[in-house]
């Protein structure tokens, strides 16, 4: 565990432009080609840039009319990518957004590996993307490790990715 913390300690962004959401969106668009890449970055409570790649055969965001209609009859798949704007750290998860039940939104399931075999290539592409851009991948176990932030104990996820939860030790993965 301390190994990953040591690694994090030693790395930093060499250029402020690497903390911009537009920079990474351009890179992700190049990487994922035909897939829709949505920029969900919200720095009001987060310390990361957030992207959602639509993996199902739709050229639209999670909030599009097409997705709304398709969720009436089937599950849909997405890839969530979080890139910290504090340090060059990245984590990603696959979402299985569940089919609506009588028009009621059922939310989604999260996994660190693909739900479908056809998404294995995306999984490999993500690691190529990480290596090509000198980012450090943080897995689910590491996200849960405890670090200090302004004198209090928080999760690594909370410190470097997302501070919107009420519980600084709770990790949604």
């Amino acid at each position: 565990m301390s190994n990953i913390l040591d690694k994090i300690e030693k790395i930093y962004y060499s250029d402020e432009s690497l903390k911009e959401s537009f920079y990474w969106k351009t890179k992700l668009l190049k990487c994922f080609g035909r897939h829709y890449v949505d920029d969900l970055t919200d720095l009001s409570y987060s310390t990361c840039l957030t992207y959602l790649v639509t993996l199902s055969e739709i050229n639209g965001s999670l909030f599009s009319r097409e997705v709304d209609l398709l969720l009436e009859s089937s599950d849909l798949y997405f890839l969530e990518i979080l890139i910290s704007n504090q340090k060059p750290l990245i984590t990603f998860h696959f979402w299985k957004y569940l089919k609506k039940d009588d028009g009621i939104d059922k939310g989604f399931l999260v996994s660190d590996v693909p739900y479908l075999k056809e998404h294995d290539l995306i999984y490999k592409k993500m690691f190529d993307f990480i290596n090509d851009n000198n980012l450090l991948f943080i897995n689910d176990n590491d996200l849960k490790s405890k670090v200090f932030l302004e004198g209090r104990l928080v999760s690594l996820y909370y410190k470097f990715f997302n501070q919107e939860g009420e519980d600084p030790l709770k990790v949604p993965y």
């Binding site: 969900l40 970055t41 009001s44 939104d105 059922k106």
Partner: protein, 249 residues
Amino acid sequence: MKKSFMRLMSLVLVLSMILSYNVTYAQSFTNDFNEGTKYYQTISGEKITEEELIEYIQNNVDKIYKVPDISVDYSSNLDNNYTVSAAIAIPAWAIGQWVIPLIGTIIVTPTLIKLGNQVVEAGSKLFDTIINAIERIVFSKAKVVGPKDKLPNQGKVTDKNHKNSPPVDAGKQGKHVPGHNNNDRRKSQWPEGRNGVKETQEAWENGRFVKGDNSVKTYDFGRKVGPNGETRVKVHGDSKGLIHGYPVH
């Protein structure tokens, strides 16, 4: 002769109905009654009478809160062994999961209230007490505000057309409202002169979950709602059943 036979058959039918009703009634509540008193189990394992539970609810309405998860499949929570004697329509604003600290979570569906493994008898004093308490929570304590009204420093607020949505926490919403006591200019802002309560509740009703624990939703209005051209609103739900939201790109 034929008339007497018909009378006899009618009597048998009525008697069998009464007998059947009593057996069903007894089977449903055998475990609940002890010398005519109905008991409920508290989260600490103690047993309290229905009267004590009613008194607790009446005196602790301010401690009851709604779980901010609207994706619960209420139909699957019905107890198949229970026969609902009479259908009753429960108001939409009461439907959901509520927490009564003394006894834990209760589930209110469009037709019944379920408390642990028991269904609260429709029209009973406990049933009415729970509905009245929820009504007080939903309406009495949430101040109705218009889109351009000044937001209170704290407390619950609601838009007049979105009373079925979870109320908005004025203190947390205020961080995003220019001129509010809690305003934090580092965070995304609502346009000058607007409190965003209406848009926040609308976004919660229509939005998509964006966090695995179903505590955050985002909705795209398809038109500008923020001062910098933002078309989306992100809404956070908290453990007290309150929400707050702000514009995002």
